[in-house]
Amino acid sequence: MNQSLAKVQNPYQPSRAKIVDIRDLTPDTRLFQVMLIDPKEREQFTYRPGQFCQISVMGTGEIPISISSSPTRPGLLEFCIRKVGRSTSSLHRLVPTDEIGIRGPYGNGFPVEYMQGKDVLIIAGGVGLAPVRSLLYYILDNRDQFNQVTLLYGARSLQDVLFPAELQTLEQHRDLNILVTLDRGDTSVWPYRVGLVTELFSEIEVAKNTVAAVCVPPVAYKFVTKELLAKKVAGEDIFMSLERKMHCGIGKCGCCAVGSKYCCQDGPVFSYWDALNLPDMI
């Protein structure tokens, strides 16, 4: 076993990227617009909705973050990052023109080809909107390939709603059905309701030909999938974007293993069917 294998590029080494713009979304979440510095790398960087990158603040560390922009709008990459710990705090201290490191894209992403010609029901909670935002724009930019599209979105309170203006524009002009619910707060403002995201199911019709895309906090998957199954969505048509501890993003460090699957490579998007097979998936 010592014949030299073809030399490949070091998969742990990030590419250099520049922060172009940072927008405050909520008190703890910001949208980062990022550009790869190397023009060749920028050109070659393609991805699918639901894929993620390993983002580095050199000196602090590296974390997995979903790509929140859509491949249909190339050039800048967008990441929507909630401040929860060391690395995310460090990211929040950065300003435009600062440099970060990017590796990726990693993971499988949502099966957009499979979703074509079907109704798409998207369910997001909290910062889980980040990966499905990519899917939303992807669908919008290929609107005729998809049937009815609905977004059920739950946030903690009014001020925690990500992209309120964007959501409003989408709902009004783009033929999308959007329902937003808050854990607590003001219900007089359209389109907000108060309650759990699962309660929104009572307000919608789910057609036979529906594919679901879910990204909610870890504890919520069981409840959401229950509702979906009750609405007769098939197990293999429920796609969930899962969270696990990740260090390498490329299936080496072992930390994100769920049964025989690696969340970073075989996921982060899994079908409900996978979850049935792998008992500690959700």
Partner: protein
Amino acid sequence: MKAKPRIGIYGLTSCAGDQLVLVNCEDELLTILEAVDLRSFVMAHSDNPEGELDVAFVEGAVTQESDLETLKDVRSRAQILIAIGTCAVWGGIPYLSGMGTPLSDHVQVDYAIPGCPIEKTQLLKAIASLLRGDLPLSLPHPVCLECTIRENNCLLQAGEICCGPLTAGGCNARCPSLNRACFGCRGASHDPNYVSARQILEKHGFSVNEVRQRLALFSGKAYEKEGTQVG
């Protein structure tokens, strides 16, 4: 240029070992002093302007009213408060004698560097992270990780009262690497299984009392919480 972080170093009731570890960073001391705005270090410096602090390092346990006053005062002035040393983190030996309590019994502690005394390498890494504006990384492993990496035979398995599996790593398994059982001087690990350790040691022929005394020596508080459910 960013303003230098304002740092204060305080000692409550202690042996001063953790402050001394900083003074023992002979190669790095001058670099560190350049990089920070040292606002208080009574042990090493006369002119201490105090005031608002970005980071306060506090050593020692709270054993008397004046310790508590100092601690509360420092907490009210500091953005980040770091407990240094097992006395500050767990109460250490003063806790065992019923005379002292750890800092976290009284104020919020943002980060803990355990050790009796703290390890130079960990302190330097912590300072470096703080200079970046990050909280230091925490070490989630017990002494056994480093002990195994150094390929030491297991002293617990060989029948000695080794506290390695119950003790926070970071010392590079100092004692077992010198053929000496770990005393647990770095305080409890993230996930100490006192009950099992006790059963193992009793099987090796130690008395309940001996085992209790040893396991609770430096982190009595954790021992009381986790270790007293059985036996």
